[in-house]
């Protein structure tokens, strides 16, 4: 099994004034390998040798090793001196070899970054065990660094796109202001009505983006304050339907609610409002004129609640569907160009649904419509939520 893993060689420098020790250690590592299946590597060791502190420093300078096996008592200096003078200290992992397990030496060496100790005399097995531990540690560090780098990259991309999303409305409003300043449409104020109207719309969009961003940040940091109570989803949906009615009427979309007389869930009313509003406004915004949107609520087996929202809208292609939950993803095609949105709605929706131990499923057919189906379970009571945290 380990034979199939790609082989990677770690560079080991053995520093000891006793030739027997150097050769013995080198022999112990010859042909020795550490399989690290979780890193998809099989690690072997290439050994270099140094007999004095000076030689060790020269070797370290020539090429920084991965691991240094360092004798404490060298003819020209101590192992600590080598660590102190070593170029690029911290780039390699040090295993101190000492004849007497002195606490003072141990503390001092640890301060200088020694990773482990080997007390002389040691068996080849002890050496191999220590080296295995060191190899694993090196890989863990490398992995952590890689993850950190990826995180930085994701953050950078998020901020780049965010900047773009904030700049677009700013540029639009700035452009209109400029046109007005130049009186490009003559002296009559009425001639600029549409420009003022568009500016108001774009600024509104920007405000929505900022608010959504704050929501998302609160959700991600776990700092969102939640007020869990018994919420009747049917009642909540009725109110939201009224709020969305104007938007639907403007697009001649009929809204329909299919639900039992009542459906109670332990939830934060604000979050429920956010979820249902998001679903309904999407099913109106991305609908065709004269289309239909149906919101269905029902109790599932095991007590969970299902919220289904289907529309007869423009639908999505498979390609669009795959990108749907990405941050700032807004479907760009000839049907959607006049639809406003922050591009964060579904990212937020997904995160909120997670708070209810639920999931979001989407089905869509291009040109025919989309159905979102959410399952929500009772939110844990605040005390339990606190304890879990």
């Amino acid at each position: 099994m380990s034979d199939q893993l790609p082989v990677h060689q770690l560079d080991v420098l053995i520093v000891d004034d006793e030739a027997g020790m150097r050769e013995g250690a080198a022999r112990s590592l010859e042909g020795f390998s550490v399989p690290l299946p979780d890193f998809n590597e099989n690690v072997t060791f290439a050994v270099r040798r140094a007999a004095t502190g000076e030689e060790a420093l020269a070797q370290l300078k020539a090429k920084s090793p991965d691991i240094v096996l360092l004798d404490y008592k060298l003819p020209d200096m101590t192992g600590i001196d080598v660590l102190t003078a070593a170029p690029g200290a911290g780039d390699f992992l040090t295993i101190m070899i000492t004849a007497f397990a002195s606490l003072e030496v141990a503390v001092n060496a640890t301060k200088r970054g020694a990773f482990d100790f080997l007390a002389k005399p040691f068996t080849p097995e002890e050496l191999r065990a220590t080296i295995s531990k060191a190899a694993r540690s090196i890989y863990l560090h490398r992995k952590a660094r890689r993850l950190e780098e990826e995180k930085r990259q994701v953050r950078f991309e998020f901020i780049s796109v965010l900047a773009h999303e904030l700049k677009s409305p700013l540029a639009a409003v700035e452009g209109y202001m400029h046109l007005m300043k130049e009186r490009m449409k003559g002296p009559e104020l009425a001639a600029y009505d549409s420009m003022v109207e568009r500016s108001v719309v774009r600024i509104g969009g920007m405000r929505k983006l900022v608010m959504d961003l704050l929501d998302l940040t609160r959700l991600e940091s776990g700092k969102k304050k939640r007020a869990i109570e018994q919420v009747d989803l049917v009642k909540a949906a009725g109110l939201i339907l009224e709020n969305v009615a104007a938007l639907a009427a403007a697009k001649k979309v009929t809204l329909e609610l299919k639900a039992p007389p009542a459906l109670v869930l332990s939830a934060d009313p604000g979050e429920i409002d956010m979820i249902i509003t998001n679903l309904l406004t999407n099913s109106v915004k991305y609908n065709k004129e004269g289309g239909r949107a149906v919101l269905e609520l029902d109790r599932k087996e095991g007590g969970a609640v299902a919220i289904r929202c289907s529309d007869t809208g423009i639908g999505m292609t498979e390609e669009e569907l795959a990108k749907l939950f990405g941050e700032f993803v807004r479907m760009k095609n000839e049907h959607t160009r006049n639809i406003d949105g922050s591009g964060l709605g579904l990212s937020i929706l997904k995160k909120v649904v997670k708070l209810y131990g639920g999931d979001v499923k989407v089905q869509s057919k291009y040109g025919e419509g989309t159905t979102f189906e959410l399952t929500l379970k009772d939110a844990p009571v605040p005390a339990a939520a606190e304890a879990a945290h």
């Binding site: 780049s160 900047a163 773009h164 700049k167 677009s168 540029a171 639009a172 700035e174 452009g175 209109y176 400029h178 046109l179 490009m184 449409k185 549409s194 420009m195 568009r198 774009r202 760009k332 095609n333 000839e334 160009r337 006049n338």
Partner: protein, 136 residues
Amino acid sequence: MTDKTRIKILVVEDDPDMMEQMKVYLESENFEVVSASTQKEAEPLIKPGAFSAAVLDLMMENPDSGFVLSHKIKKMDARIPVVIVTSVTKETGFYFDKAHDPKAWIKADAIIHKELRFEQLKAELKRLLGAGEGHE
């Protein structure tokens, strides 16, 4: 603009506000605007004699919509000036390599940053149309 017929400019831009503003400016300069808001919508408009210059947004339904359209326009008639409007360099750190003339492979005559002053666009169009006057 020695004759009275207005010069037609193809403007492809997916932001309705940018489009509106571009129209107001270009029309005030006596250009006639032929508009499209997606790459798909613009493609059938690329026909000989349909316009004398083009102003294209770079990122529309595809991240390289502007490049694709520019390429098609230049393939039809290499003399038609094409200006690509983009904000891509600043935000994404994706630079057009100045050492290797970007226009060589992008096949556009000018690349203008999106926060363009409309005057800059106007000047660019005038310069390019002036240079290509021979075929008007």
